[in-house]
Amino acid sequence: MKRLLLNKGFNSFLASLVSVICGLIIGLVIMFIFNPQGAWDGFIIMIQGGFSDSARGIGNVLYYATSFILIGLSVSFSFQTGVFNIGAIGQFTIGSFVTIYVAHHGTWLPAPIQWLVAIICGGIVGALWGIIPGVMKAYKNVNEVISCIMMNYIAMYLVNQLIYDSLYDNSLVGTRYVPTTSLMPRVGLDKIFPGSSVNLGFFIALLVSVLVYILLYKTTFGFELRACGFNPNAAHYAGVNEKRNIVLVMIIAGFLAGLGGGILHLSSISKYYKISEVFLNETNYAIPIALLANTHPIGVIASGIFISYITVGGTLMQGQGFPVETVDMITAVIIYFAAFSLVFKQFFTRITTLKFNKANKKRIQ
């Protein structure tokens, strides 16, 4: 038991859990302040999340989690290696468009691989979008936060223009609906979770998270990357080519984000990219999910599903008179409590080592 509590992973998990609980409690208080009658019912619906809408709800939790996980993973992965890929937003955007574009123009491909080609293309262009800030950081020492912000806006406006130029649909003010032949395979999930949009993409997200985990923690390449992340000077000393690695990290992170955008947009027959000058909604969650997961790739699965879970709950909560923004507020409070995780962790460590300390004190006296 003590061993378990001292285990870093478990300790972080516990700390996150406490953050979540505290966040939910504060959220409930806010809800009570604004609408005392509906608060409790609304809250219950929210924390029942996907479960309060039968199988479909669960299916939708998994569906929304798919893109959340992938974009959160993009940010987490970069964080772990010492880069702050705030550009996941733009990579997701451009990846979405390219996937839709390829889906439309790739209908000559055999149907079973149309989706695959499309999302891979989305990922690749996302990766290209990541290269630019990566190269700028590695070789020109340009702060990646600023270059990524610029790349995000460029992606957004560029995609808007490319849509006008290529797949524009007058009545949708966006791309046309994606062709049905290139939708993500449902692999029977539509039978288990009828009415939801969950598809193979979810398993891809899981698989990719595990792959990223393995990459980071089990391979020599990951070893290098993490060394760069924790201490670039030491990595340099150890002969690691940290410049090349920064670029590679941005490529991989860009690919993950682009893939997320692609999968999202091939998930439903009525999906299309709507021209907009606000970033896609999913991108708002990239950093929160990464932070909530303590930037661990497996943690991202949990936090992605969690955010998705309460988002679904939040939609249903509208029935109790709470606007969808309530969920964002609660999410924010939960993230804030993640800041306490250091305190929580110390607390857990203290109670587990209390005995040891007592003994020690005695010895001193």
């Binding site: 939708n60 939801s196 009525s270 109790q320």
Partner: protein, 369 residues
């Protein structure tokens, strides 16, 4: 035309009062425990917002008018994203929470509306600006659903004509984004400007035409409008929802004027000289009233233009210099009766790919892409 409309409104008011009395006598519905969360429901799209100062706001006000009177509960729902699946989720949630009448205020629900009307035959729907259509392109309207469309081009036409008749020669149109309704406003405005120039023999009429690319009041939008005013544009017709505020602000700072959209926006800024109104609020109210009284008739598409009195300029609050009530009435009459094919000559959104293709006789149109 406008008199007729005003009369309608008066009648409506009278009806409203009646209804209020009736409802106060009626006890609150018995099963209010379960269905207290919204018998009348508005669906807005994921991309939109309840307070868009346009469509959604107007529908919402209509619902509030009705529910305020009858004591029925109301609510609005927004899906997580604009897919059929997500829209069905909120539909199910709403019905589970007691929805009996659902107002759908966006074209984005086109596909899911097909499913909604079939899944819930006991629930009554109206959908604005759209006709339920399957993915294959087949239009299906069930008996419990009514589609309501507007001829925005006609009120755009009114605004454009009035502006030229009032003496403006340098005009501008900005839409939020080229969604069908906005495009109709714009094309109608262009045609109205040109027609007035022709009828009244005005020379040198110029029209700037553009879309912001968004519906938000951003500094960029303000700057764009300001640059037009700076460049000589006198009046801008802003069909851009909340982004209209950017035009108002630019007008305030550059001594220009604005024509508002959707509802009477005269209260929002001194610079609003008139507004191209659609009667959404009232139509929503009426549809609900009919439903309440059991006279609702579904399965149809209703289109509202000048002939139906569904569009108007609010002359009481308008600040025209030369364009009088008489001028307005005459123009409205011509439009409603389609004299000399005036109404049918106004292009709709599907007629041209972009505004520069509209054949205009005496107007120089500059389309800023």
């Amino acid at each position: 035309g406008s008199k007729k409309k005003e009369d309608d409104a008066k009648k409506d008011d009278a009806k409203k009062d009646d209804a209020a009395e009736e409802s106060s006598e009626e006890p609150a519905s018995k099963d209010s425990e379960e269905s207290s969360k919204g018998e009348v429901v508005l669906f807005v799209s994921a991309a939109g917002a309840l307070d868009d100062r346009a469509f959604n706001s107007a529908c919402w006000l209509g619902i509030q008018d009705f529910c305020g009177e009858t004591g029925k509960t109301y609510a609005y729902y927004q899906p997580t994203e604009d897919t059929v699946e997500a829209q069905m989720v909120i539909c199910d949630t709403a019905v589970k929470a007691g929805a009996k009448f659902i107002v759908i205020s966006a074209d984005q629900f086109k596909l899911s509306a097909v499913e909604m009307q079939e899944s819930y035959p006991d629930v009554t729907f109206i959908i604005y600006d759209s006709i339920p259509t399957t993915a294959e392109g087949e239009e299906i309207i069930a008996d419990n659903l009514k589609s309501i469309l507007f001829k925005e081009q006609e009120v755009g036409f009114l605004a454009g004509y009035a502006a030229v008749q009032d003496g403006y020669t340098k005009l501008g149109f900005v839409g939020g984004m080229p969604v069908p309704a906005v495009v109709r406003f714009g094309y109608g405005f262009a045609k109205g400007v040109d027609r007035a120039a022709e009828d009244l023999n005005v020379d040198g009429v110029e029209l700037m035409y553009s879309y912001f690319g968004n519906f938000e009041a951003t500094p960029d939008n303000q700057a764009r409008c300001a640059s037009w005013y700076q460049n000589g544009t006198e009046v801008i017709f802003a069909a851009a929802g909340p982004a209209g505020a950017s035009a108002f602000k630019a007008a305030e700072d550059n001594d220009g004027v604005v024509i508002g959209v959707d509802s009477d926006q005269s209260a929002e800024s001194e610079t609003v000289i008139s507004s191209a109104m659609k009667d959404l609020r009232n139509l929503t109210y009426k549809a609900l009233k009919e439903w309440d009284e059991g006279t609702f008739k579904g399965g149809v598409v209703e289109t509202y233009g000048s002939a139906e009195g569904g569009v108007a300029l609010p002359m009481e609050t308008s600040k025209w210099k030369n364009f009088s009530q008489e001028d307005y009435d005459a123009l409205y009459e011509r439009l409603a009766k389609d004299e000399d094919g005036i109404a049918s000559s106004i292009p709709s959104n599907t007629d041209y790919d972009d505004p520069s293709q509209i054949p205009l006789e005496r107007t120089k149109i500059t389309y800023v892409q």
